[in-house]
């Protein structure tokens, strides 16, 4: 009865890599460059290695779970840019939709090294990371990761992550309200299974089907409105089957349609 909470406490108290077979996720900190140059940039990544059948979460986690969080601890003068999330997966299970990553993922950020950084000085980077891994059950985890540069550059996982970073939607998009639905018109022919992943929970009902219909040379994606008013803008990522990169949309919703 109390086994799971105790397991979680162990996970919270133990470095993730040492938590043993029970931990569905192990976490490591990697860097894309071997050294820190004065005035330079280092791409750093949180590499979550997730066991088969488990997933971790995107910044909007969907109907369950919680986003992975990364809190950098950096030397004075070194700053971290925004966290770069690879395009999330649409994960359906028992009637719920989760937004996240089945399997391993790298969440990256660009660290900026100040101009006056002494060239030979080691750079100590650290991050406090929390995540939730879910399969049939959910197990939260947390750890502090650290890395000292110079270190071995690990470019391959970071390049793989970057290949799945969303890009802006390169076209024209418009949305209008239609009763309990939002109709998103896009100027491209998009295949069945195309989905909009909302940036914020509640703006789109994830457990309702999203229908794509052809309209001239474009497409109309019909979304069921969620319980929270999107307050004038529909923001999200367009997931197109077969495309590893989602496309970012930020479209005003006209009032009084």
């Amino acid at each position: 009865m109390r086994a799971l909470p105790i397991l979680c406490l162990l996970l919270l108290a133990t470095p993730a890599a040492a938590a043993g077979d029970a931990a569905p996720v192990s976490a490591r900190l990697i860097a894309g460059s071997a050294t820190a140059m004065p005035g330079g940039r280092v791409l750093a990544g949180i590499h979550l290695i997730t066991a088969d059948g488990w997933h971790t979460y995107w910044r909007n986690p969907g109907d369950g779970g919680a986003p992975t969080t990364v809190d950098w601890a950096l030397p004075a003068g070194v700053t971290a840019g925004p966290l770069r999330w690879p395009s999330p997966h649409w994960i359906e299970s028992h009637g719920f939709v989760s937004l996240g990553y089945e399997g391993s993922v790298v969440l990256a950020a660009t660290l900026r090294v100040p101009d006056d950084w002494p060239p030979a000085k080691p750079l100590d980077i650290a991050a406090d990371v929390t995540w939730v891994a879910c399969a049939e059950i959910c197990i939260p985890g947390a750890t502090r990761l650290s890395l000292r540069l110079p270190a071995t550059a690990e470019t391959a996982p970071l390049e793989a992550a970057a290949a799945a970073w969303p890009v802006p939607y390169d076209g024209v998009a418009a949305v209008r309200r239609d009763g309990d639905h939002l109709r998103l018109a896009l100027d491209r022919s998009l295949p069945d299974g195309t989905r909009l992943v909302p940036e914020t929970w509640g703006h789109v009902a994830l457990d309702r089907p999203q229908g794509i219909a052809r309209s001239g040379s474009g497409s109309v994606l019909t979304l069921a409105a969620g319980p929270v008013d999107p307050a004038g803008r529909l923001r999200g990522l367009l997931l197109v089957p077969g495309h590893p990169r989602a496309e970012r949309l930020d479209v005003p919703i006209p009032r009084g349609d």
């Binding site: 009865m1 799971l4 909470p5 979680c8 919270l12 109907d63 369950g64 779970g65 919680a66 986003p67 299970s93 028992h94 009637g95 719920f96 929390t130 939730v132 879910c134 049939e136 059950i137 959910c138 197990i139 939260p140 947390a142 929970w201 509640g202 009902a205 457990d207 319980p227 929270v228």
Partner: protein, 199 residues
């Protein structure tokens, strides 16, 4: 009220039926079975505020709020003020959090919890009626039987008990808004926790 439950009972549960109810509309009526075998009908509680709490004692997020006594304190605050608190367990048999009536009563005793009743919902009918997604998922129904709040217990979506003292408890905030006869400030929030283990 409308015979909503009878209608839902005819639908195949393998299909996804998780429509969230509407805020400020009449809360969907239901008849549940409490651990003492008695039936609890929501509409019989008209005239009192009702708090619905979806729960699963093995979920770490539920543990966060029970482990330090915070959920129990809220239960005593509200029931002490005449409100009804219904804890609902929608875990299907064989899934995490499913309990017998005796086990549910033992959990109430062991955790020093103070709900008005614990409803056993192993078929998930009440959970689906309310679109309960996670544990804990909280709902507040006012004296007139209208749904006034649904969502998270608080604004810190973590499993860390240390986050509770600095958090805004959404249920307390909604009740304070009702006390002051003003609209609930955040009537819908994203509930956080483990997904409800429906059949």
């Amino acid at each position: 009220m409308r015979p909503v439950l009878m209608l839902l009972a005819l639908l195949p549960w393998s299909a996804v039926v998780l429509a969230a109810p509407d805020i400020d509309a009449p809360a969907p009526d239901f008849v549940g079975t409490a651990t003492n075998g008695e039936t609890v009908r929501l509409s019989d509680l008209r005239g009192r505020r009702v708090i619905l709490e979806w729960t699963n004692h093995l979920c770490p997020y539920v543990g966060k709020h029970y482990g330090g006594g915070d959920m129990q304190t809220l239960q005593r605050e509200t029931t002490g003020a005449g409100m009804a608190w219904l804890s609902v367990i929608s875990s299907a048999p064989g899934t995490q959090g499913h309990v017998t009536a005796a086990e549910a009563d033992a959990l109430t005793r062991d955790r020093d919890a103070a709900p008005t009743a614990v409803l056993l919902d192993p078929e998930g009918a009440i959970g689906r009626l309310y679109g309960a997604r996670v544990t804990p998922h909280m709902y507040v129904v006012d004296e007139a039987g209208r749904l006034r709040y649904m969502g998270a217990i608080d604004d810190r979506p973590t499993d860390d008990r240390a986050d509770i003292p600095g958090a805004t408890n959404h249920v307390r905030a909604a009740l304070a808004d009702l006390d002051a006869d003003r609209p609930v400030g955040s009537p819908v929030t994203r509930a956080y926790g483990c997904t409800v283990k429906y059949r």
